[in-house]
Amino acid sequence: MSARHYSPLGQLILSRLREFFRQPEVVFWVYGFPILMVVALGIAFRNKPVEHITVSVQDSEYAQVAADALSKNKKFEVQRCDADACRLKLRTGRSDIVTIASAGPRYEYLYDPTRPESLLARNAVDDALQRAAGRKDIADVSDKELTEPGARYIDFLVPGLIGMGLMGGGLWGVGFVTVDMRIRKLLKRFIATPMKKHQFLTGIMLSRFMFMIPEIVILLLFAWLAFGVRVQGSLFAVMVFVFLGAFTFSGIGLLVASRANTVETVSGLMNLVMLPMWILSGIFFSSDRFPAAFQPLIKALPLTPLINALRAIILEGYGLMQLLPEAAILVAWAVVTFALALRWFRWM
């Protein structure tokens, strides 16, 4: 007989933590992968000034006039080619604009208005040619360049990745893990003991929170050290929303896991839940880009208010009081999903 006291909740949490940290591949996906995303996307979308504008000048009697005028400015890279070659270059993105010169001088521009660099080229080329033709600027202007942290893509991306991590963590760390235990009949084995069901569920949740804290800290610290991403608002406010998000997605994870008893079912359900939010909730680009008709639906998805709130705190320094509507949506999701999950949950 042993008199030592063993805490079931403590043991359940400890077991989950041990299992987690003893699986290097899982640790990598949770902690390493978001950092790789930050690095890759941070480099790919680093903001740099436009260095060159590639201009195709179509062969004609007056082509030389246009080419000479443009060549005076180093930012233009001028190519001479015939009509077909010029159009091909424009179409395939190897040239930003096609300029056709005729008597007068008269200029015709071919460009693609859906490509920002093409639109930019049109204005720059026009400016240069108009001046060469004798246009005088009337107002006195001076340029000052300003690139500040907070306005870059990487700044936009980090709160999105935090939200994505919370969603994935809740669904995998709670949903998938629970179904796995059901498949292994471990849930059944547990309820064959006097274990309290609520302690098991609390243990799963709390251990999930414990893996999550380093995940968020590592991501924020890395983004700060490598890219100078700063939290404008309070870290406390960030953590409040991180916990709210973790709680909500644990509830959704539990709901997804409440009945599934094969890996295929739970994987399918998880993708069904996550895919719309990956696309619509503004992880990689603002959800405002979707048509207004979709906005009420998009704003009701749990990931959208979470990411919006995190962005508002991290980029714009919002306080918690300004983010009550977002918090309310998250709490509503958490309450409803937990209630349904507990009602439907199967132990065998």
């Binding site: 030592r4 077991s15 299992e19 003893r22 009949k185 471990l186 084995r189 006097p194």
Partner: protein, 319 residues
């Protein structure tokens, strides 16, 4: 003697497109301090029965009483006093033996020290080994240790040695016997007749969701009438008539005769009386022996006599 488990007219129907009658009116009583076995082929309803008694499944109808308590009324108290090893549980591979036992120990108000539970199943040397690294026999011993760690009065084991090698099976039998020596009750299911014979004080033979006979292995074997079996077959001579059952049953000491796939099995009381007479009779009939063996009768013979089928291939016949 006090009763540890009593089932009365237990019925379990699994609902579905084609409902399955897993248990069809099963009665049994397990006495305190005995090792009781449910023996039967796969699909006989053993696991369904034991899981109803363990409170993991709801019976469709019938009464179950465990340690004089009922499921649905005193669940917490019952769970504290019973230990269960399920047929297939995959414990967490990344936890060590000691960690697993400590986790299970934490669910009980009182129980064994995890080290003590480990000692009882001889896994001390594997204390820090991960479950994933254990052999099949070691995993099964750990599963039993998880059932023992709450220091139960009543231990349930569902197919405890299925798939294990002979040495691992004997180790498990020793563990179960040691538990029984403390005056505790064991209820197990098995489809191995040798396991039931060597381990169980009493056995209920189950087929198609019903108990077809109950008794100590010795009593059940004695019910065949002869404790020995003479198995023989004869060479197929051309034009020879088949041996007839009544020719053989009239031999001295023969209690019953069974024909099966060209082999003839005689249940006999005394081999030394029957055997010479059999050889003489065969010689008179000018039949040559192709094979001859004698052995003790087993629970397998009891099952075959009662059902006409073998334990091993019972799974294919049972729905």
């Amino acid at each position: 003697m006090a009763v540890a488990v009593r089932c009365t007219n237990l019925v379990k129907v699994y609902e579905g497109k084609t409902p399955v009658d897993a248990v069809r009116g099963l009665d049994l009583g397990v006495e305190t301090g005995e090792c009781f076995g449910l023996l039967g082929p796969n699909g006989a309803g053993k696991t369904t029965t034991i899981e109803i008694i363990e409170g993991l499944l709801q019976p469709t109808s019938g009464d179950v009483e465990v340690l004089a308590m009922k499921w649905g009324h005193q669940d917490e108290e019952l769970r504290q006093r019973i230990g269960i090893s399920l047929q297939e549980t995959k414990l967490s591979e990344k936890l060590s033996v000691l960690e697993t036992l400590t986790l299970f120990r934490s669910f009980y108000r009182q129980g064994l020290d995890p080290d003590e539970a480990m000692r009882r199943v001889s896994l001390e040397e594997k204390a820090t080994a991960w479950v994933g690294k254990l052999s099949g026999g070691q995993k099964q011993r750990l599963a039993v240790a998880c059932a023992l760690v709450g220091d139960p009065d009543l231990l349930f084991l569902d197919e405890p040695t299925t798939g294990l090698d002979p040495q691992a099976r004997r180790q498990l039998w020793d563990i179960i016997r040691d538990f029984g020596k403390q005056g505790r009750t064991v209820m197990l299911t098995t489809h191995y007749m040798d396991e039931a014979e060597r381990l169980c004080d009493r056995v209920a033979i189950v087929d198609h969701g019903k108990v077809i006979t109950v008794g100590s292995p010795r009593e059940l074997i004695a019910s065949l009438g002869g404790e020995h079996i003479v198995d023989f077959s004869v060479a197929n001579g051309t034009g020879m008539p088949e041996l007839q059952s009544d020719e053989l049953s009239s031999l001295p000491g023969v209690q019953s005769v069974r024909f099966e796939d060209g082999q003839i099995s005689l249940a006999v009381a005394e081999v030394h009386v029957t055997l010479p007479a059999l050889l003489v009779r065969l010689k008179e009939m000018k039949r040559d022996l192709a094979s001859l063996t004698t052995r003790h009768a087993s629970l397998e013979d009891v099952f075959v006599t009662l059902t006409g089928r073998h334990l091993r291939d019972g799974g294919a016949n049972a729905s």
